[in-house]
């Protein structure tokens, strides 16, 4: 369909993104296990992230999409060196960040991989004005000398559209949108190589969402960082990202380049979950029909869906976690292969990987 043209060069954004092959950040086999007390004396272990591999290249805007409980926030934390994985590696510039000593991490890793938190209040100490907070960020980022700090604070604020008088304001005087922009400010302060934004659009209205995304893109062209956008909102991901990884129950079930519809209208997802996500998106946009037979079918399965939620996953569930809600599984007559073997992420087309034993053609 798309020929030999490198798909990564087609993406959101009117400028063609350079097919940039420098590997910036890589995650290999990331696993994160939690133990949860079910009741007295009994605990279960939950795999929040189940053997995830990711690759982030220079100039990428990578979207990680999944429902709440799919493990995307946990993954984001592991990528930014805030949560050590139970297994696996996060590799920056050829070194696994979790094997480095504290000092090196603080001096070299932290300024390079930055996180924008889901909760905009998170990064702000309520006890001092936000200018003070930015000053710390700048000093710890190590790019600015102390004489130029005040200047840099004003410049940073201006970049995200906040007047420099805001430096004197306390966090509780800012609106939600302003706090989000401050989070971006903070992440930019150390001139990072990768920014991981965890649900940066939650709590913003539609207009503001667009502006924030536009700001991200603008900053990216100016400062040249790779952006990892973690979101549940498939639409927005399609509007800004050049690659998307769809997560379900702690695993990446599909990894695909994002193509603008006008350039490749036949673009379809291949994993059943991703297909359903896209279909639901269309349903919302083109009108809810109420319960048709098909819908009821899907809804029922959706209702039984426990996997990927805190109750659901137990350590390495046997077989495919999605089969409880998978229409393809039903359509194919519930093949036993799905119940026995966990599907691995396999490359089915250039830059396109899917984790399913079967395909639409079956």
């Amino acid at each position: 369909m798309l020929g030999d043209r490198d798909v990564t060069s087609l993406a959101g954004g009117t400028e063609e993104r350079e097919a940039n092959t420098t590997l910036v950040l890589e995650a290999r086999g990331l696993v994160r296990q939690f133990n949860r007390r079910v009741r007295f004396g009994v605990s279960e272990s939950i795999l929040a992230v189940d053997h995830v591999d990711l690759v982030v290249r220079g100039g990428d805007v990578l979207g990680i999409v999944g429902a709440s409980g799919s493990g995307k926030s946990t993954l984001a934390r592991m990528l930014t060196c805030l949560l050590p994985p139970s297994a696996g590696q996060v590799i920056l510039n050829g070194r696994d960040v979790y094997t480095l000593d504290k000092e090196t991490v603080r001096r070299e890793v932290r300024p390079a991989i930055r996180m924008i938190f889901q909760d905009p209040d998170a990064a702000l100490n309520p006890a001092y004005p936000i200018g003070e907070g930015l000053r710390r960020a700048l000093m710890l980022g190590g790019r600015v000398s102390s004489e130029h700090i005040d200047e840099s604070i004003s410049k940073l604020l201006a970049e995200v559209g906040l007047p420099s008088s805001y430096a004197f304001k306390y966090p509780d005087e800012l609106s939600g949108g302003e706090k989000r922009r401050l989070g971006i400010c903070r992440a930019l302060s150390s001139d990072p190589v990768v920014i991981v934004a965890d649900e940066p659009l939650s709590g913003l209205d539609v207009v503001l969402q667009e502006r924030v995304l536009a700001l991200f893109l603008h900053e990216q062209t100016v400062r040249q960082f790779a952006l990892v956008l973690v979101s549940h909102d498939l639409d927005r991901v399609h509007q800004v990202c050049n690659r998307v990884a769809v997560m379900f129950a702690g695993r990446v079930v599909e990894s695909a380049p994002v193509v603008a519809p006008q350039l490749a209208p036949e673009f379809r997802y291949r994993h059943p979950y991703a297909i359903e996500l896209a279909a639901a998106k269309d349903r919302l946009h083109y009108g809810l029909q109420g319960r048709s037979a098909d819908h009821r079918h899907t809804s029922e399965f959706a209702a039984t869906r426990e996997f990927g939620t805190p109750t659901g996953t137990t350590s390495r569930m046997k077989g495919c976690a999605y089969r409880g809600a998978c229409p393809r599984y039903v359509r194919l007559g519930r093949p036993s292969h799905c119940a026995e073997a966990v599907p691995e992420l396999t490359e089915q087309a250039p830059h396109r990987s899917v984790a399913c034993h079967f395909s639409e053609a079956d």
Binding site: A67, S175, G176, H218, H232, R291, T311
Partner: protein
């Protein structure tokens, strides 16, 4: 959503000239600025606006759920046949500060009065679906317990019949395994499931009007669709009135009969949903136009263009929207001056469509 001929033309919820003030560290904010609306039995009223537009505070203030001071300071509100704000003027005083500023103060005794008045209303005539269901449910009660409480209060049949009724409610909302859900705690459910569980609770109340505050925000597309479909189905089955509050026009569009657009605490446009959908761009309020365009872009997956964020201070006098308003620049000097000095009031364009804008012929 085609409602049948109205059996009861008397509105089930009516608000007139509501004003709500909040004291914040940044000054006194007019969160709700003379808002009037009415909801008929069986109709769905959609309220769209960004965060801070007053769309939520309008209802929260009337229902005694708002936590700011002083809160609702004037206006009238009727729910069912209860005048909820009766006697408010006697409890509002003006006080001169030590700096000479005039502050509006409300008697703390008012709160008790309001609670008294709302006793028969909240949880009987009115049910509320909150934005984050897991936070509005009691964390150490199972869903079953929640439903028991409500059903017990509504005085329906003995225990076992109640359990049956609870399961029935859950089944009606797309849960294929009600027993499991009944035994679960709120944190064990995914976001979408919790939202539907909350919906089950509100259905158990059998209200005359349901207020759904951002019911789909934060949910992935699948769960969004499911939640909305459930609401639609409940509405079709029980014919209760619904107030749907959202910042996402798609959500409003999918369900509402009538739409109210709010900005900066005021109603800026009022029209039936079909009318708002079909009217050409020049005929709708510039903010509504912005929302429609944003929605279009999103539906089509149109890539977001990188752009730096300009600062957007709120204009102190005149129309709150003027600094964002694209229409304004195309108006003649006289009318531009009006935008700057006086905030426009809601005026009828046609019998069903009203708009608050100097730039639209009324």
């Amino acid at each position: 959503m085609g409602a049948p001929a109205l059996k009861n033309p008397e509105p089930v919820l009516e608000i007139q000239d509501l004003v709500s003030l909040f004291e914040t560290p940044a000054g006194v904010v007019r969160a709700v600025d003379r808002v009037s609306l009415s909801v008929q039995d069986g109709r769905v009223l959609g309220i769209v606006g960004e965060s801070g537009s007053g769309k939520t505070q309008t209802f929260f203030g009337v229902l005694g759920l708002s936590r700011g001071t002083p809160g609702v300071v004037s206006g009238r509100a009727r729910i069912g046949n209860v005048d909820v704000l009766e006697g408010l003027p006697e409890h509002i005083h003006e006080r001169v500060d030590s700096d000479g500023a005039v502050r509006v103060v409300k008697d703390p005794a008012w709160r008790r009065l309001q609670e008294e008045r709302l006793k028969g209303v909240l949880g009987h005539t009115v049910a509320i679906l909150f934005q984050d269901p897991r936070r509005s449910l009691v964390p150490y009660w199972t869903i079953g317990r929640h439903l028991q409480e409500v059903l017990h209060r509504k005085g329906s049949a003995p225990d076992d019949a109640r359990r049956g009724r609870a399961a029935e409610l859950l089944r009606g909302l797309g849960f294929a395994e009600p027993a499991r859900v009944l035994q679960s705690y709120p944190e064990q459910l995914s976001g979408g499931e919790a939202q539907r569980a909350m919906l089950a609770l509100t259905m158990a109340i059998k209200p005359r009007v349901l207020i759904a505050d951002e019911p789909t925000t934060g949910l992935d597309t699948i769960n969004q669709a499911l939640a909305l479909e459930s609401i639609v189905e409940q509405h079709e089955r029980h014919r209760m009135a619904i107030v749907l509050i959202s910042h996402d026009l798609s959500v409003i569009d999918a369900m509402a009969d009538d739409v109210l657009v709010m900005y900066a605490g005021r109603v800026v446009a009022r029209a039936p949903a079909a009318v708002l959908r079909d009217l050409p761009d020049e005929a709708v309020h510039p903010y509504a136009r912005e929302l429609r365009e944003s929605r279009r872009r999103r539906t089509l997956g149109q890539p977001i263009v990188a752009g730096a964020a300009p600062p957007r201070p709120l204009s102190p006098t005149g129309c709150a929207f003027q600094l964002r308003c694209e229409l304004r620049s195309r108006l003649d000097a006289d009318r531009q001056a009006m935008c700057a000095t006086e905030a426009p009031n809601l005026k009828a364009v046609t019998e069903v469509h009203s708009v608050a804008c100097w730039g639209i012929a009324t």
